[in-house]
Symmetry: C2
Subunit: 336 residues, 2 copies
DNA sequence: CATTAGCAATCAAAAAGTTTGAGTGCTAAA
DNA sequence: TTTAGCACTCAAACTTTTTGATTGCTAATG
């Protein structure tokens, strides 16, 4: 591809992102100071190479997936780290006293607004967090609350019913033992450890009621394994011309509501992942691009922020923004 | 209105609910064993009375809001409590060991599926719940977690930073005091009580750092005041022919995403409230009906379940179902 | 050899026109 | 009071026409 062809491709992407209309040779002729016929020749070549396509025989050109890919790899990736124009975000991250999860939520809201896409935050799961405290809080004669607290201050609870036969004294002993046993254990190892100790140590004798109690505990622990997510800005996206087709609109929303969208989010990548159109496996999402950017927590888990929008999105702006956000969310974890 | 006119109105509503098409005189003539001309005459009267209307000069008739109102008041309200056909729901409520909030969530999911409407659960707020325990869990040298637990087993937490100057011993004393002070206090009275005691009792001397600590506590308490909600089934609803108009669809979804829908939910009513079309104050919702049904918790708070769908909904089925659900959710609270 | 002016060809989208059929209101007779 | 009959209405579906942006190709230009 010659230099001029690359310039033309870039212009087509930029223009199309703005206008959502196919770009004709005349439009580009004005910018490039050659005649429209010359542009047409070049466009013909670009089309043969597969970077652009026509919507019908006599239409202007739009970028193909390959075209977007090229644009991202050569043009966007070579941009110097741009952090200007992210004013609202800088403001957000500078509030040191806000809670981390709140900041992330707001960042995702802003991201969605700024891009007119749907934005998603997939929290790191707490698998490697460590148990800080296990506790039983009696609520009434027959009910109690199991509390599990991690070193990051996450709390999960599970209510249990205490039948008549259970001895309150014994219960307290069990909890003490559990605390001793589990403190500083990573959540991922809890279940294993519990089962082992029940078999092999003196905890066995104490736990007359292990079926109920231990199961409840394990259930409480298992809640940490569920990754929490936050999804926002569907309505921002609906007004994009891509969604003028009511069928597509419905399918898109159904996919989101059924949580199928999570299948498309790349959580294993380091840095940023961009999946364009048919690179996504879900048929209803093949007009969309899914961008994922991960960050690391101190305990070795990964969190992800993602953006879902029409393939025609402003990659030039969005990709640096996603990088910027992941970097700063990671900082929030490092500060602790 | 004569008996026959009432029958015709009922048939028009029933048919229209099924088909979403205007009902012509010929259709009804078959069922009623009179000629279509007779039906037309009766329809003319019903139209003059305002119970039905035409979509254009030569179209069949559809129910007006007044027509739906009449249908609900005279036909649906007089139905014997119908509880048959709610098989899935009976099954759901019979699982005694599931957690209450989980059951409610599932009930709302089912409700939405069964009706093709958007279903919402507005949890009772915890204003009248009582403080069961207040606790401080140290996480690291400079961080701690404030925990507040209510008699219903709801837990709220707030992380705080502990600056160097704070004396750990003193902090423990403060927590002990707070526990003593606040236990069994309704959440709604906590703030008041705290402020009073700080002014008048010996707690004053202890609380050198009240600004930070007490504020954090108050913030933790205030989280209980936020009513939790669960909203589901938007995508079920999108396939209704009412939403073939893309403009309406977008507006509806925007209204939902902005939480404006909550303005339309009647939480103060006893029993059931049905708001049809323009009875709703939000312009984008004036083709919708919002049904709300409340239940009482043991501590005097109200929870609400709601259903939002096109005015053309199957009131005959939906209204008994909503009553049934509210009754059974209330039972869940009574069992504790 | 790259560039360009010129021109017929293409085709979506918008506008205008046509057909169809379900439904109505009204009238006059049963 | 009910009904048959008929002219009338109008949305929805379908067809045709017009418009205009854009293309590919060719032949001329520098």
């Amino acid at each position: 591809m010659t230099k001029r062809q690359e310039v033309i491709l870039k212009l087509i992407v930029d223009e199309y992102v703005k206008s959502a209309e196919p770009i004709g040779s005349k439009t580009l002729a004005e910018t490039l100071d050659v005649s429209s016929a010359t542009i047409r020749n070049e466009m013909g070549i670009l089309e043969d190479l597969g970077y652009i396509e026509k919507t019908h025989t006599s239409s202007g050109r739009i970028p193909s997936e390959k075209g977007y890919r090229y644009y991202i790899e050569t043009i966007v990736k070579n941009l110097d780290e741009e952090t200007d124009g992210f004013f609202e975000f800088e403001e957000l991250f500078s509030h040191k006293d806000h809670e981390r999860d709140e900041i992330i939520k707001e960042a995702i809201d802003l991201l969605s607004q700024a891009t007119n896409c749907t934005a998603i935050s997939l929290g790191p799961n707490a698998f490697n967090s460590k148990v800080k405290k296990v506790q039983l809080v009696p609520l009434s004669l027959h009910q109690a609350l199991i509390l599990v607290i991690t070193n990051y201050g996450y709390v999960e609870s599970k209510q249990i019913n205490i039948s008549e036969e259970i001895d309150a004294q014994e219960l307290i002993k069990v909890i003490d033992l559990l605390n001793e046993l589990l403190i500083d254990t990573p959540i991922s190892k809890v279940s294993e450890k519990l089962h082992y100790e029940i078999q092999h140590s003196h905890i066995k004798e104490l736990l007359k009621y292990r079926e109920t109690i231990v199961d409840s505990f394990i259930e409480a622990f298992s809640k940490f394994a569920q990754t929490k997510y936050y999804l926002t800005g569907q309505s921002n996206m609906l007004y994009q011309p891509e969604f003028n087709d009511i069928q597509k609109l419905r399918q898109f929303l159904t996919t989101i509501e059924n949580n199928e969208i999570f299948k498309l989010i790349e959580t294993d990548t380091d840095g940023i992942s961009v999946k364009i159109g048919t690179e996504n496996q879900i048929t209803t999402m093949q007009d969309c691009t899914v961008i994922s950017s991960t960050y690391d927590t101190q305990d070795g888990e990964k969190g992800t922020i993602s953006l879902v929008g029409p393939t025609r999105m402003d990659y030039r702006r969005v990709i640096p923004l996603m990088k910027y956000l992941a970097k700063h969310i990671q900082k929030l974890y490092e500060e602790e």
